[in-house]
Symmetry: C2
């Protein structure tokens, strides 16, 4: 059987999967990233995990948040991995591992996972957006992953939706991420008069979601408002790229239909409508597996 | 010699060129559009013009502003041609003309003209933007014109740069076009304390340009400010699409280096910068010919 390894290298955990041709994860390993010990330690831990599958896989794909040189397999910068500056991840792994290694951006892994095995299967063109602490994106055009000239296409989180808007960590003002990134949603909630679950000092999107499901009006309003901002950003994606399908993933996609309906309404109000207009917007159903599955497909797409 | 016909069907004039394989326009005809007489009259006038070249060309390409069904050659809607609603332009022309006819969006014609014969020749990926009364765009990806699933890709003029911004004719708020469209620039100028040329009741972008060249500080500030807004819109294009080249055309590209430098500064300040970042931004040098030349290439790209 042809199997490949897909790795989702995140700031908190490293999720490793042994994936079949058909997109089934037949074995899994999850270990803490422990980024504080530095990139060498992280890579040593990955190599250690892979030992037990030594001859069971043909290739390895790794998805990492941040700016990646996909050809050379270098992580230039990662918001989730402090001290990762121009780390030649591929070279380091290939010193020990004999199988080919492919390194890519985590949002590209997400959109590939959806395109190969999820909601975007077979779609002519796809834009994938991941909502979490950061907001990433990736695009499939004519069956190919579109990386752009600088390997930096799909950065929807850093498109401007309000040029007077809040300062973003990237240096720009009014980026989509400053409206729909997890910490901005939490801060927006905290500035309101909260009750119940929402008064939690360690408020998280998951708690906002729970409160919303329990009928908290403020939590519901926050999620709908997040959908409005997201809809503005995605309307821009549609106006520019006109994809067949947009798939929304990442932790915040757990906001579910309340978010999705608000997104759809906003998009409808903001894009040019005409009889031939076609675009579908859906929520990911693969959850955390999207990044593992997508990374396992890097060998075919990078 | 292989020659093709390229037609730029605008709201004011119809520009027709007999174009060689190498992109030389060897004969030209320009007639007034007279859109008020209706689409049948416009098409009859085009057919009349083409009679004199009867056996000299192999194919015809026509660029029209608006929403086009590129496959069927139908003009769904054109902002420049009132009463053009779902006009089967290709079918009407083919009733009389034996050569194949291709109908496309004018901004797509522009970017093709630049890609085949202008500043974007040979570029790996190109975004073309046309600045005039309307703001259009088109994109070349991997040597192909990218139309999107609804034939509506590249609509950069209707991307939101400020969700609180002015209402646009398209129904959206804060579209790029509401900041850099000709009439918005004129109105912004008129609201200031103008002197000299800028007091002209029939103020045009050309007059603003002339005033700027004569040293008018307000005119210069207006052009620089237009460059800032344009830079915000183009930074979004770069973040999403990451093209190798952006080429700026249309009447307002006559604002020249003052505009271009302001665009470049704004883009630089707003996109994520990293060592591998590559994007060039240039002004078109083809002028009005870009649309004729690009339309003549529709047969190869549609």
């Amino acid at each position: 059987m042809n199997t490949t390894v897909g790795i989702d290298l995140g700031g908190t955990n490293i999720k490793i999967g042994l994936v079949t041709n058909g997109g089934r994860i037949i074995q899994r390993i999850t270990i803490p990233t422990n980024a504080q010990y530095g990139p060498e330690a992280v890579v040593a831990n990955i190599i250690n995990c892979l030992k037990q599958w030594q001859n069971q896989y043909q290739t390895i794909g790794i998805g990492v948040a941040g700016l990646i040189d996909h050809k050379k397999g270098i992580v230039h910068f990662s918001p989730n991995l402090p001290n990762w500056k121009n780390i030649p991840l591929k070279t380091w792994l290939r010193k020990v591992i004999k199988q080919p290694v492919y390194v890519g951006n985590d949002a590209n892994a997400f959109v590939l996972g959806e395109y190969c095995f999820g909601k975007a299967k077979g779609a002519k063109s796809v834009f994938g957006i991941t909502l979490g602490t950061g907001v990433g994106g990736g695009m499939i055009i004519d069956g190919k992953l579109w990386l752009g000239i600088s390997d930096a296409a799909g950065e929807v989180g850093h498109t401007t939706i309000n040029f007077f808007g809040p300062r973003c960590a990237c240096g720009n003002q009014g980026c989509l991420e400053t409206y729909v990134g997890a910490k901005y949603i939490i801060n927006r909630t905290k500035r309101k008069k909260t009750t119940g679950l929402l008064t939690d000092k360690n408020l998280t999107p998951a708690l906002i979601n729970l409160a919303s499901k329990q009928g908290d009006k403020l939590a519901q309003a926050i999620i709908r408002e997040t959908g409005v901002y997201l809809g503005i950003g995605l309307a821009n994606v549609i106006s520019l790229f006109d994809p067949a399908l947009i798939v929304i993933g990442g932790g915040l996609s757990g906001f579910g239909k309340l978010l999705l309906n608000s997104v759809k309404q906003t998009v409808q109000a903001r894009i040019m409508n005409f009889p031939g207009r076609r675009v579908k917007i859906v929520l990911s159903k693969l959850g955390d597996d999207a990044a593992i599955l997508g990374a396992s497909q890097f060998p075919k797409f990078l």
